[in-house]
């Protein structure tokens, strides 16, 4: 293919954009399957995927603990590492939102970095909304004979507007039935360090969530954020509720052969 000018480059990027995967620390540490599922989904959608080695975490734990200096240092490093790619995609609404919505705010008093963070943030997306909204994916090839229910993680829902995209793609999974979760838009009580700083309050919140999950009769609980998933799974297991918990990307990528989060009951 010969590239004749900017218009052609743009067209080529649209056809086959290079996506840098921001793995997120929890997926990296606890659930690599989600990372591989993300790569498969992105590649199936026609993206070239790269995984820059120089990544740890988005900085949210520091940011939400009031430690602005460490957050800024982490943000600078993430921006430097990822800003050269067409898109930056994270399999998490919460980390995606930190990169997309909060990085520019961090540099409100540093014009040069503010500019850079703003340009960077325009290219950042959460995985499922990227597939649906940017790549125009309307269906996936996966198959799963199960009734699943879906929890809307807070940052994805309220900061990034992710609601219909995962449901639409899930409905295209052969054999899958989607049972709506009552109060799906209510927080699961994770809240990052909140869940260990205020374990009793967090428990009350996730306890309600577990009850709601149980009422759906679903075999499987899905969401787009591993923090919420680990929290909900931990509570379901402790309450002996036999519901498998997985990241939505695992189901969309047809990668449900691995044991679920926290194993089986």
């Amino acid at each position: 293919m010969t590239i004749n000018g900017p218009a052609d480059i743009e067209a080529s990027v649209r056809r086959r954009p290079t996506v840098a995967l921001f793995v997120t620390c929890l997926v990296d540490l606890f659930r690599p399957t989600v990372g591989f599922a993300a790569i498969k989904l992105l590649e199936d959608a026609g993206c070239a995927v790269v995984v820059p080695a120089n990544q740890t975490c988005c900085g949210q734990p520091a940011y939400n603990s009031g430690d602005r200096e460490d957050t800024r240092a982490i943000a600078r490093s993430v921006i430097e590492t990822f800003e050269g790619y067409d898109y930056i995609v994270a399999p998490s609404g919460s980390c995606g939102s930190t990169l997309k919505k909060h990085y520019p705010e961090l540099f409100a008093d540093e014009p040069e970095w503010y500019e850079r963070a703003t340009r960077f943030s325009a290219k950042v997306f959460e995985l499922v909304s990227f597939l649906a909204d940017v790549m125009g994916v309307e269906s996936v090839e996966a198959q799963l004979s199960a009734t699943v229910t879906y929890h809307d993680s807070c940052s994805g829902l309220r900061e990034l507007g992710i609601r219909e995209q995962p449901r639409r793609l899930l409905r295209s999974v052969a054999g899958l039935t989607l049972a709506e979760l009552p109060e799906a838009d209510v927080c699961c009580g994770f809240g990052g360090t909140f869940c260990v700083k205020y374990p009793d309050v967090s428990n009350a919140i996730v306890g309600k969530k577990a009850k709601n999950v149980a009422t759906t009769g679903a075999d499987m609980l899905l969401a787009g954020d591993l923090g919420c998933l680990m929290n909900m799974d931990g509570k379901l297991k402790r309450e002996n509720v036999a519901v498998e918990v997985r990241h939505v990307a695992e189901v969309l990528a047809g990668m449900t052969d691995k044991p679920p989060i926290g194993g089986k009951l």
Partner: protein, 483 residues
Amino acid sequence: MQITSQTFKANTVKALADVDLQRALKHVEKGFIGKRQKAADALPEFEALRDSAMAIKQHTLKHLDLYIEAYVAKVEASGGKVHFAEDADHARRIFLDIARRRKAKTVTKGKTMISEEIGLNAFLEENGITPVETDLGEYIIQLRGEHPSHIIAPAVHINRDQVEADFRRFHVDLDPKRDLLKPETLLSEARQILRQKYGEADIGVTGANFLIAETGTSVIVTNEGNGDLTQLLGKCHVVLASIEKIVPTLEDTAQILRVLARSATGQEMSVYTTLSTGPKRPDDQDGPEEYHVVLLDNGRSNMLGTEFEDMLRCIRCGACMNHCPVYHAVGGHSYGWVYPGPMGAVLTPSLIGVDKAGHLPNASTFCGRCEAVCPMRIPLPKMMRHWREKEFESHLQPATARAGLGLWAYFARRPKLYRAAVSFAMPALKLLAGPKRRFRKLPLAGGWTKWRDLPAPEGRTFMQAYAQSGHGHMRSGGRETAR
């Protein structure tokens, strides 16, 4: 009022174990949310009205000095008097001066959170003056010796059967065999008792939802009509209000009213919206002989021009707490001072100091539901984060949390070191968990495992697995697949 925000954690443990409270809190969750949503859905311009209401408040706060001056001039032109109160103590002294001059023995009160903020009831009792709360919820908690647990539904933490028991305990002159099963009978019993008080009162105290600069008018919004009787039948009307209640014009008031009740209770308008301008004029049929406004600052002017200025847009609708999962779990008293929920988590540190209220901005999951429903679009999570930053800067957080965070940040800022550490730790954790793939207990993870299991990692980290999977770190190609 004694501040117990420092013991927030202990307060929540008590609240979570309180069966009656937990029963009552279910109503908050079930009641308010659906009603607000219905009201918002029924009004196509609701979102635009939120923008407009927010703009009015933003404009007012930018020129607050100007509008306060204009307001004071109008109140005085209508024969009323405005008293500036720098803090709670100052406000109480102003009130006592008025009460002493009027030789007041009884004070009827409409619902006012500023009265709570300055601790008026206890102060009046110390000075031999009897305060009588006339809002049903306030009346109930006054009988019980409690404080409001919600800014618009002060007794929301109490169940009907508890109210019945209280009424039987305090209304001893009434027939003990009377039927009090229906909530309406409780209401009419309270009404019957309170009706006599209005006329006897020497002073009627109300709060204000708005103070209108254009006309010098104070506005109250109620559902019971008790506020109207309080301010009309008392011989002297004292309005307790804080400086951010000022709005420029009547038109602005009307605009904000359209989002207030909808956000609060899901009503289009509350049952009564009452405007008071000055004392009784010579030709008026009724009204108070004197009209005073105690305009309270109490730390608010220090918020102007700071990252907390947006908080002064708050119109006290309560939507943030009605939608807050933490409030739903632990109720308003856990927050330990006058203002609970997300708005309290931001306002309380501003008013009493972050050293006393440090837990409140931390006790949030940042789920963002409060900001999503706030009619004034106050970025509540963002401001809670600002408080956390202030705490971090002044080393107010617990040493262990700070040390843990410091250690984590040290690694997070050094990818190579981080990689080496986690590449060892994660496979080890997987082994430790064994075939169950989760932990019931794990050293240093007690906060997590107290109530829930901890899922074990899958084994190798993603970065390890990816490097070994043949994808290669900077591979730029992918499988050719049709879209």
